[in-house]
Amino acid sequence: MTASAITRHPAEPEGVVAQAYWQMRDTWTVTKRNLRHFIRQPRLLVFSTIQPVMFVVLFSFVFGGIAGAALPGDISYIDYLLPGIFVQSSAFRSTQTAVGLAEDLERGVVDRFRSMPMSRVAVLGGRTIADLVRSIAVIMLMIAVAYLIGFRFTEGVVSAVGAVLIVALFGLMMSWLFICLALYVPGAEAAQTAGFVVLFPLVFASSIFVPLETMPGWLAAFASQSPLTHAADTARALSIGGEALRPALLAIAWCVGIMAVIIPIAVRRFRSMS
């Protein structure tokens, strides 16, 4: 029989603190769900692990020869490349956030979420956070593979952690961007395609693969303003040395600024969708 003690709705949260608590707990519940999905969908596992590992290996061997020559001093290409690949793979992975959300919106289970007294932000937040956890796991895997082919962090553990964190922040921002996109562009494929079309040029017009000095003036000028360059430069400086503070402040400003605008837009859009 259902007539047990807790079958009534628990008392509803009152006050800002209680609401914030439930918001976080709901987000965590949805995050767990999304992580389970991730593990149970081999397609996603492959996409998000094999692909970046191949990027690391192929780029460093194929372009290592010519790119290495353009690098200052004794920096090897894998050392230059890996922090950039963190940023590149985070950017591409964020298109998966759009796909995941678009698929969710077509699933009945989100209807149930909507009819429940749970926090609305949790559906979106739970997805971006799950994707963040996944992203960090993939970065760890890339680091392990890179170590096998000669990459080394030179700035100590704290800086290395900082490099991963700045990329994580960048990835989180990108995920929210794509959440927003998925909420406005109907259909999973459309969201992913739209994403790639914009991302591809941005990834190459940055310091991710090669130093800006090797680019034509106009392109270098554009690339030097790109948040992808700031994120890559920060991660690189924290990994193998160099000026970290300035790009770090720029990268953080970009990420926080974009999220401050995009999260409220996405949440409002999601609330009003029916």
């Binding site: 029989m1 007539a3 628990p10 769900r33 149930r112 909507r114 009819s115």
Partner: protein
Amino acid sequence: MSAVPAVSVENVRKNFGDTEALTGVNLTVDEGEVLGLLGPNGAGKTTLVRVLATLLTPTSGTARVLGHDVVHEAAQVRRKIGLTGQYAAVDELLTGRENLRMFGELFHLSTKDARRRADELLERFDLAFAANRPARTYSGGMRRRLDLASSLLVRPDLLFLDEPTTGLDPRSRNSIWDITRELVDEGMTLLLTTQYLEEADQLADRIAVIDHGHIIAKGTGDELKDQVGGQVVDIVLADPADLNRALDALPGAEAASGGRTVRVAVIDRDPLEVVGEVAATLNSSEIQVRDLGLRRPTLDDVFLELTGELAESAPDGDDVQEVVA
């Protein structure tokens, strides 16, 4: 009269672009009542349920659920309702147990309570044996039960059931009916949509018939059936040429569709007695019969009577009339 009805709907309209899904619905459901919303495909049942469950905003009109406006006080409404939609709203990749635990947590039960409640419901809904299998692998009936269980992690004051048995075999249907009856016995208010008069009749205290986006009739099952004339005896003649002789021989008989079917209404009498009389009369008049049977009114009949037109794709077609010589 209880002070606040569980559901009160006033002149609710809902358009999707050019489609007018709801064209002015007025409806009240009292607390503790089971209302059956009966209508054919496309009548607007799901749309109405989704408006009441705060999933859709009505184009105009007002709807209140348990005293709260579904648009302006959606959060309060969500706290008191349970929804089992037409299509199972469970997570396909999670196991049955994981689904229930997740929904329990999202209903703001403590982790411990969510676990306990999930186990209770798996037991009660006969799903314990498949608790650790992904919902993707469940049969239609199991999925329905899991969906229903997901609405009951905390006891709702009002439960919406949108076509809970469509597509289920008789055994699964009966188990859903049993569960539904238990919930009713526990005093839950229920709004149930269905395409089957039989189902509305079995489960509901009161039935509202919806067609083309508005309610065209309300009443108890018996009242509706009286409108359609209750049970009938249908006689399919072996030879259509006997039609007039049969109509003369049987008092109160009328011709039904097809040109070879004669129908006798059973009004306030023992149906078996009427069947016996009809059979005896036909026998003594030496009229050959291909088929003779007692029929309950179907959704078709209700619609024919109420709207003068045949319900589009009603589920229980009248085979007797379809017989081709």
